[in-house]
Point group: C2
Chain length 364, copies 2
């Protein structure tokens, strides 16, 4: 069968770093092999660096990004807990759904799509929430919110409240400083700025959230107490088998993180910044209008309005079939009026920015 | 970094089929790319063949085997439902835990480890259970149970009762006939006889179980209604995005299933049978005693007692470090008195059987 290759410039997955692909195809190890456990430990240590945390419980969960959202709520919310969710896009909406399933009394704080989270409005929504949740980089709108300001304010008011941050589209592309920002529960995905195929959810839990965790959540697979006994070792010191870890995906993440840290986080962030800036400038030069509010735009994921009279799906189809380039449509009410163009991980490069601009110039 | 390669003859993961490794490393596609959706559809169709089912909802779930167990109970059990679980090993015990978390009134039917499920005792345990669950191939003991006899008997008594089968270590190695056996909910893993890295849980749901499904289970990630709208299409016909599918793992499963079906299921089963028989005969010739009850032994996973006076861990360590061969220890009370040797998927070959026998002969 002939293989098809694409330039993946949608909202994710992005094209993996070559090291990540090599890691996927490396000889498989058993999940209890000492050599694999070394790779796993090193992966967790590398994840601590990109998360900006010293949290002992920093690990890759065995599912795609959304499993991180599920694990965060499942292990922190008890029926009746008040959970304030900042909603400024699809993933905030999803948090409302997930928190509700675990019995939370959810207080959604709705924002206009394309705008960042308004910290004061979120604080004012409830005087004493158990948990406050927000999305750092909204994949549906291309907007960055100030999690540091939110986390600091929440903890200043109540040292026991928990702060949850969705970092699916930020980790490895822009700075995340979980400890400094007061993030108690954070999750991400591998298929965006980390430059790995989808299949793992890098996750971190603060000591505060760990102490307050639900002891026997409905979900066995995502029971952090049981997972922690395998990944970080149990109270007795040894590792206890929980579920078979996705060893190939973890080897791939290990390799990609090695590449990222060798390049240096600051250099990686600068690469994302420069590529995003070139793309956004170029789109405006093409006469297009950016969607996300100025000053809050993600470099790694650009949203742009489909020009009046242009068929969004037709343009995306032509880019895919004639140029092998995938870009994304919009979400919800913006499905056919917004495009989402990602320059993430290995694709955060000037040549990718020029390529998609050139192709758009031809197609429009 | 030097790569380590192993001969994986434990209870899984096993060494992948070469086609599976090539599939993992193939150029990555987006989860909404028409080309990927074609691969996904074909993967589901191939899974129907190995499951022996026409179930429309037959798909790979985005996690390792245990996520299949979680999804099966989460989508079928309501608080207070009576669930009878046949327990003849670790994975039966785990079902008791998982079903209990979703609020089931669980009736465990305990068996001696190493023995198959006693269908009559399971039937007698409760007159009208909502669901009856059993493990087809117990990974912890190497025992095969007769799911066909159980399923038929359960449905003869109550056409509405559901039958759940754990096929993690059977699918792709021995016959599974979900429709003929009356299996309503079945799950497996990719890292055993299917010869793929761990990371997906092949899953199937009968029309009966689908009609009785829980409409808004606590778990969003494993909500079959939402997943079905992406994988099989929604009522309206289109596909609705749920979570980002693990595209590389699915491409790998697709490739491995292609290899298996090209070889032919009967030939694959015969290969597993012959390799297992050779191993079991050889172990007895070495003076060792098989653990699982005669007549109910799995060809793909052999359990054998550690000889009196032999240090189980030391032998496994020598096999790993001197021969690069991984075999498994026992589980629970048998941790240091039983070994588990798998000849699964790509490893279901006479040369692997001879290799591990020769190495054991040297080490013992």
């Amino acid at each position: 069968m002939a293989l098809v290759d694409r330039v993946l410039l949608g909202p994710g997955p992005s094209n993996p770093y070559p090291e990540a692909t090599a890691g996927l195809a490396a000889p498989l190890l058993g999940h209890l092999d000492p050599e694999f456990l070394r790779v796993l430990d090193e992966t967790c240590e590398r994840l601590r660096t990109v998360w900006g945390t010293a949290n002992r419980r920093t690990l890759p969960l065995s599912g795609t990004g959304s499993i991180g959202m599920e694990a965060a709520f499942a292990n922190s919310v008890r029926p009746g807990d008040v959970v304030v969710v900042a909603v400024n896009g699809l993933f905030g909406q999803r948090m409302v759904d997930v928190a509700g399933r675990y019995g939370a009394e959810v207080v959604p704080v709705e924002h206009e799509f394309g705008r960042p989270v308004d910290v004061q409005r979120v604080l004012d929504a409830h005087p004493a929430p158990r948990l406050v949740a927000a999305v750092h980089a909204e994949t549906s709108t291309g907007v960055r919110s100030d999690i540091g300001a939110l986390g600091t304010a929440v903890h200043e008011r109540d040292a026991d409240a928990l702060v949850l941050a969705d970092c699916v589209t930020s980790l490895g592309g822009i700075e995340v400083a979980a400890d400094q920002w007061g993030v108690d529960l954070g999750y991400s995905g591998t298929q965006k700025c980390l430059g790995v195929a989808p299949g793992l959810a890098p996750f971190t839990v603060s000591e505060r959230a760990w102490q307050h965790r639900v002891r026997r959540p409905p979900t066995w697979y995502l029971d952090l107490g049981l997972i922690g006994d395998y990944v970080s070792g149990s109270a007795g010191g040894g590792r206890t088998y929980h579920h078979t870890a996705p060893v190939a995906m973890i080897a791939s993440l290990h390799a990609a993180l090695g590449r990222v840290l060798e390049e240096g986080l600051d250099a990686v962030f600068e690469r994302h910044r420069a590529a995003g800036e070139r793309l956004q400038t170029g789109l405006v030069e093409l006469g297009l209008e950016l969607f996300a509010q100025e000053g809050h735009r993600l470099p790694e994921l650009t949203t742009v309005r489909v020009p009046e009279g242009v068929d969004s799906a037709k343009v995306r189809h032509r880019l895919l079939t004639e140029y092998g380039i995938e870009i994304g449509g919009g979400v919800g009410q913006y499905a056919s009026t917004v495009w989402r163009i990602g320059l993430m991980g290995h694709n955060a490069r000037l040549d990718r920015a020029e390529l998609v601009l050139a192709a758009l110039r031809q197609v429009l």
